[in-house]
Symmetry: C2
Subunit: 369 residues, 2 copies
């Protein structure tokens, strides 16, 4: 493969000039630039990324830390990130963060310190204090997305508002007995490290639940009390399925279920179908995410636009590492709140035998910004 020297010789200039002409850094005359480009094209020259990185300190590579890469949500966010990085010439290196302590230590103490990335995007993982410190010690920009750590200049949707919106939708439909299927706070976090997940207030499921509680509490203050119950369940189809079966076995099952994710909502729907409970006639169901197959299930959900989230995170990290953004006009605010929107479909409806009060105020979807 042709090297810088080859191009320099062919163009009759120094290697310094070739480097400047091709990279656009530093001045070169229009004429030499042309000549150099022609020579480079001719020889099929492409600069070695590793040599370039070593000399410049720029890796032109962004690391993305993801838990569970086989979940639709993360894959979609990843797609959004990649869509922004590729056109800028940045590579995307994927780091899967599991619950295995040895694997985590390896990632934070070795892999990440090899200096292969200019910046990092961290997706929805709970980090211990040590891990956050290790990230900081890297001395590279880090953008968190859905990460329960304020330190990471995190992009995030207002999960409390999401929880409130989903619950309010059910209340507005006339439901007076609503269950929320979510995940309890895991004190030690998946990392098992001291202080992992530190402040429960930052945890996504916890915040969605807080929104639920807030909406329920507001109905009491307003004088038309709604019965709200929280039910702990795994953040999976099966977990929600199990919890729903138990719920439907109770003497007085709720008339509506707010599942903390669309996949959980699928589990709810499956359980209802198996028990012969009609949706939405006997049970309304709402999820969160805007999952791929939500339309297929005719599932009402709070869409949080994961692909757009990925794009935002990609732009944010590019800005942080000093790459020019595709559109230089727009500044990326890495602390801004991300949009979400209620998508009404067929799994939510007024409860059976319910008639709309004449003067009932309707809550509209939250603003998308």
């Amino acid at each position: 493969m042709a090297s810088l020297d080859d191009v320099a010789r062919a163009a009759g200039v120094s290697t310094a000039t070739v480097s400047r002409a091709l990279s656009g850094r530093g001045r070169t005359s229009e004429a030499t630039r042309e000549r150099v480009r022609a020579a480079a094209d001719e020889l099929g020259y492409v600069a070695s990324a590793t040599a370039s990185s070593l000399a410049s300190g720029r890796a032109e590579n962004i690391g993305v830390i993801v838990p569970l890469m086989d979940r639709w949500f993360f894959a979609t966010v990843l797609d959004g990130i990649a869509a922004r990085l590729a056109p800028r010439g940045y590579d995307l290196t994927l780091y899967n963060l599991t619950d295995d302590p040895a694997q985590r230590r390896r990632l934070f103490e070795t892999t990440l310190r090899r200096g292969r990335v200019d910046g990092l995007i961290v997706l929805s993982v709970r980090l211990s204090d040590d891990e956050v410190a290790a990230l900081a010690a890297l001395g590279r920009p880090v953008v968190g997305l859905g990460v329960p750590r304020g330190e990471l200049g995190a992009l995030r949707v207002d999960d409390t508002a999401v929880g409130r919106a989903a619950t309010q939708h059910l209340i507005d439909l006339g439901h007076r007995d609503i269950a929320h299927l979510g995940q309890g706070f895991a004190p030690s976090g998946p990392g098992g490290g001291v202080g992992a997940g530190a402040d429960p207030a930052y945890d996504i499921p916890t915040r969605r639940r807080a929104g639920f509680e807030t909406a329920i509490a507001a109905t009491r203050l307003a004088g038309l009390p709604v019965n709200g119950r929280f039910v702990e369940a795994d953040f999976t189809v099966d977990g929600a399925h199990r919890a729903t079966v138990a719920l439907l076995n109770e003497p007085h099952p709720p008339t509506a279920i707010f599942a903390a994710s669309d996949e959980m909502a699928y589990g709810v729907l499956a359980a209802a179908r198996e028990r012969g409970v009609a949706v939405p006639a006997d049970l309304s169901v709402i999820g969160v995410d805007g999952h791929d197959l939500a339309g297929l299930f005719d599932l009402t959900t709070i869409d949080q636009f994961p692909h757009a989230q990925g794009e935002r995170a990609g732009d944010a990290i590019l800005a942080a590492v000093g790459a020019e953004l595709p559109n230089p006009d727009e500044t990326v605010d890495a602390s801004a709140s991300l949009p979400f929107a209620l998508v009404r479909r067929g799994t939510t409806a007024p409860p059976r035998d319910w008639t709309e009060p004449s003067s009932r105020p309707r809550t509209t979807a939250p603003p998308r910004g």
Copy 2:
């Protein structure tokens, strides 16, 4: 951050010795190795990946080319690959290959030639002759997975056998009118390049269809003819949904549908539900993949173990680039056929009013190897 020199000074040896002691390449005495390790630990030294790569020519990084990274199948394969690379200390760089010609050219002519990867895994993409040539010119090992190009030493499941197995399952159940929803061959391929997809015989959907035709044809030879029809549809939930609606509108709809993917099968199920066609009483449905949610839909499918496919591909590329495998005993045969298995669930059953012939031979699931 500490450098090699720092460690050498602390341990009282040369940088060459530090490099050898830490990497394990070349001889060092037990004693100095200990001393060097202690010094390295003390200083928190981690070798710079870019300097190491430049000097050694080893990037310890594998590139993975994927289409559509937000599809469950690819995300799962990716997870399998990552599971094998990480423990060996290899990074995984993700390249999303879209249909955009400019983006493709950029990838093959520039990005990949920057020398950042030791080897490549190519997942289920159709490549033009030029693209295959560009890959070969890289001079690095390439492992194809589900790639319709024999050149790439591809791992693949026997898709013809998959098509045959799915069809045979329906025939064995007693169906005599079966439709196969698949994708027609796109002559120019997504790359739009000359010769893209070259030989249709290598295309996955085409091979599944060939298996379908073969199984149908065999029934004619055997004297109990089954009516088989191929219906072209997009490889998506919606595409299959549309095709199924059309099919169910016909005067004589089939009693069974073999969808070329599980996601397509979901579309079939949705259409059936909407039209009030009972599954499996009035319509049997089988898919292919072993999708995440197949259990939820109670969908009969041909599982092709995508996670295991990823692991195989990961092992194959590691072997090709000369990394020691986790288990040195096992040799990875990159040309071997991958396993698949029929998973019987509730969406397939004998057709209505059908009674099993007394002496009917039953076909069993194909061997998983």
